[in-house]
Amino acid sequence: MIDASQPASSTSQVADLPSGAEATVCALTGGHDFCGRIANLGFTLGAPLRVRQNYGRGPVVVALRGTLVALGRAEARRILVAPRGAT
């Protein structure tokens, strides 16, 4: 796990954000493989993203760097974010 630059209280998982929420990536958790793949896709520390669709179960869709990325629920839990503007 990579150190979060935000205090723990203000971070949440992408999976917890409602549709339409905007946030900034502040940490990735999980193995090197997963973190590397997701970082190559643009989920780097400080990257702004918007949750495009989250129905509370099943996969979520995230808009990031001009693309739409579908993430399984488990993967969406491994990306920690801070709400936009909180930084």
Binding site: F34, L41, V61, A70, G72
Partner: protein, 703 residues
């Protein structure tokens, strides 16, 4: 792998005045600076690189058209597409590298792409980027710049970007990057010629390539330098030291393994010590690349106001909605099959009518005086086989056209997204839906399509399940026999049998996942492309490549099988009743008995489906002496079976062991006889089990 097609063709004449490669540049540098700068090289190798969903294959298709060859990378299960075109009397070999997001060895595709760029050293690389997702597309460019290959950028999909309110100034981007940036709308063939001209110029003049290369973050530079120095001292690997050092810092498994194996232990200890202290550098390197990209695009891109609603947003409100999206998927599914049969059925009838009549007349004319057996072999055996192929070909072509359109529009990824929840029950995720869906066309591409799955476990399970998807050949058998078998309840029986297949697929998936894989889950990360208008050429070539590979199989296996069945049914003695085939069928009759299928001809028809599923009908035709495969044949077959046995027969035909082409593909893709045998054994047990259960249940209910 066979040799790529060597025929060549000149580029279509453009509407705009042609951009002539600027040969004066060559003279400025002086040919003595670079031996390759001679005026007109005979041949050039150009690599086409790009991330998925940037329109790379459209560019490839526009450049090479039918002069393309689809094969496999030597010893790999990744598709290799090469093509040839001519520019300025130079033959250009274009190699379409697999679509990859980065050049870190996360997957086979990425390894192949970078090994080609490093090992084969193409004269120039054309990289296609998506203007609507510029930052993400440029990530690959940032990686490519670490390699020593001259680059030209094709800025594609500007039209899609404009629809989303994104405007990219190509010349501003070009100035920032120091790389030629050519605006393209590949689907309309705009800018392709200019792109080629720019690549050609660069190939003649590689020394002119002085790009602005991304630098690693300041805090990591000394570490990188240290590793480079250590690697330089040993010069023992095939990679350039600076690139290898960067990949070591990124924790690239393959490069790490290779360097570890090729450096003296003491040196490796030293390098490894440095790497251990900076284990998380890979995230900073990725972050650093995106920061660099941010600086590059800042002046060139005008972005839309935040929260603008796009076409894609509007369509996805339905297409990715958990309930509406599922209904839409089912609707599209139904439409795909409705359309396939509505268009293909008349085509099939026309084709088999015209061609078969002609062929039989021809055979009669040629073999008129010949003895009875060769004309029997040709007319009933071979031409009967041709008939089966012809019935089936339009169905396959139309299905692939529908699939190609859905893919090119960007819808298929949504289907995968919607199916993710269901696929999780089998320990798979949404991406597995894509190859399985392909299976409705033909199981061979379905098994090959499992390559898109990153994890071996998911790939193996998907390959195991793919033959349980009823392919068009089996659906054609079903559609042919069901009306005569079940009369007015034919539709219900057909739907029931397809549902049975899919139900068994789901149960098998859940069971295998629980038993063999202990319910592990795999990561689901998939890009949803923006919707765009499909390109006819891309769809056309997709259909062509898929039907052509079917025809190659049909041209050999189906005709051969059909001829073999005819011979076996006529030897010895020229009488079906006493033939070898009859003997085999009768020997297996006790097994058939359990399913109400005691007639040996029915058993032989099932066995012959191993050569190709559509053979079931051809064989019945030969054995019942009705080569035309009309509805009379179905009625004849129905007459010798009880309703319960008819249902059992179709269930077994639908679930029976995969055809020989699929088996060969399974062996090739899994590289394991054990998996191949497991796949055959599993389907044999499932199909016979289903047949017995259905027949015995039907008997209980008095059918």
């Amino acid at each position: 792998m066979s040799e790529p097609v060597r025929t060549s063709r000149t580029l279509p004449q453009p509407v705009a005045p042609p951009v002539r490669p600027n040969l004066r540049l060559v003279h400025c540098a002086g040919p003595e600076d670079d031996p390759r700068a001679a005026a007109h090289p005979d041949a050039l190798t150009v690599a086409l690189v790009g991330q998925p969903n940037v329109g790379k294959s459209t560019v490839f298709n526009m450049l090479t058209g039918l002069n393309q060859h689809v094969g496999n990378w030597p010893g790999k299960t990744v598709e290799l597409k090469t093509g040839v075109f001519e520019v300025e009397a130079t033959t250009v070999k274009l190699v379409d590298l697999p679509g990859t997001y980065s050049l870190t060895a996360n997957s086979e595709e990425e390894r192949i792409a970078r090994d080609f760029l490093i090992g084969e050293r193409p004269d120039v690389a054309i990289t296609v980027v998506n203007a609507a997702a510029l930052e993400r597309s440029l990530y690959l460019v940032a990686e490519l710049l670490a390699l020593d290959v001259p680059l030209v950028i094709g800025l594609n999909m500007s039209d899609v970007a404009e629809q989303h309110g994104i405007h990219v100034e190509a010349h501003v981007l070009q100035a920032a990057l120091g790389i030629p940036v050519i605006p393209l709308v590949a689907t309309r063939n705009e800018g392709i010629r200019e792109l080629v001209a720019a690549a050609y110029r660069l190939a003649l003049q590689p020394a002119a390539f002085r790009p602005n290369r991304p630098a690693i973050r300041a805090e990591h530079q000394p570490i990188l330098d240290q590793v480079v120095v250590l690697l330089d001292g040993c010069a023992c690997q095939r990679y350039p030291a600076s690139w290898a050092a960067l990949k070591l810092l990124e924790g690239d498994e393959e490069v790490t393994r290779e360097i570890q194996g090729s450096t003296p232990p003491a040196l490796w200890e030293e390098i490894h010590g440095i790497l251990l202290k900076h284990e998380d550098a890979y995230l900073d390197i990725a972050g650093g690349r995106y920061e660099w990209i941010g600086r590059m695009v800042r002046a060139a891109v005008t972005s839309p106001r935040a929260g603008a609603i796009t076409h894609t947003d509007r369509i996805d409100r339905v297409a990715t909605h958990p309930v509406l999206g599922l209904l839409l998927l089912l609707g599209i599914f139904g439409l795909a099959f409705g359309l396939t049969y509505a268009i293909a059925t008349p085509l099939s009838e026309w084709l088999s009518g015209v061609v078969l009549t002609g062929l039989i007349a021809l055979a009669d004319a040629v073999l008129g005086t010949a003895p009875a057996w060769p004309s029997g072999l040709v007319i009933d055996g071979v031409i009967g086989g041709v008939g089966t192929v012809l019935i089936f070909l339009p169905i396959l072509a139309v299905f692939f056209a529908v699939l190609g359109i859905l893919e090119d529009v960007g819808y298929l990824a949504r289907g995968a997204y919607i199916m993710d929840r269901f696929m999780h029950l089998m320990g798979l995720h949404g991406k597995s839906f894509l190859p399985l869906f392909l299976g409705f066309g033909c199981n061979v591409p379905a098994v090959m399509g499992a390559r898109i799955l990153e994890e071996r476990r998911a790939r193996m399970l998907t390959i195991l399940l793919a033959p349980l998807v009823p392919c068009t050949a089996r659906l054609a058998v079903l559609a042919f026999l069901a009306p005569a078998f079940f009369g007015s309840s034919a539709a219900a029986a057909t739907i029931g049998l397809v549902a049975l297949n899919l139900g068994i697929l789901a149960v098998t998936g859940i069971a295998v996942n629980k038993m063999a894989f202990k319910g592990e889950q795999t990561a689901f990360i998939m890009e949803l492309p923006l919707y765009h208008i499909p390109n006819l050429r891309t769809v056309g070539l997709y259909v062509w490549n898929n039907t052509a590979s079917f025809l190659r199989k049909a041209g050999t296996l189906i005709l051969l099988a059909s001829a073999v069945v005819w011979i076996l049914s006529n030897v010895p003695g020229g009488n079906v009743e006493t033939s070898i085939l009859a003997a085999v069928g009768r020997a297996l009759a006790p097994v058939g008995e359990l399913m109400g299928l005691s007639d040996w001809r029915i058993i032989v028809a099932l066995l012959s489906s191993f050569f190709a599923k559509e053979n079931t009908i051809a064989t019945l035709g030969v054995l019942f002496g009705a080569p035309e495969a009309g509805s009379a044949l179905a009625t004849q077959v129905a007459a010798i079976l009880t309703p319960g046995a008819r249902l059992a027969f179709l269930a077994v035909a639908m679930l029976f062991i995969p055809c020989v082409a699929t088996v060969a593909t399974i062996k090739q893709e899994t590289a394991s006889w054990k998996w191949t045998a497991a796949s055959i054994g599993l389907l044999l047990i499932i199909s016979l089990g289903a047949g017995v259960v259905i027949y015995q249940l039907a008997r209980v209910f008095g059918m």
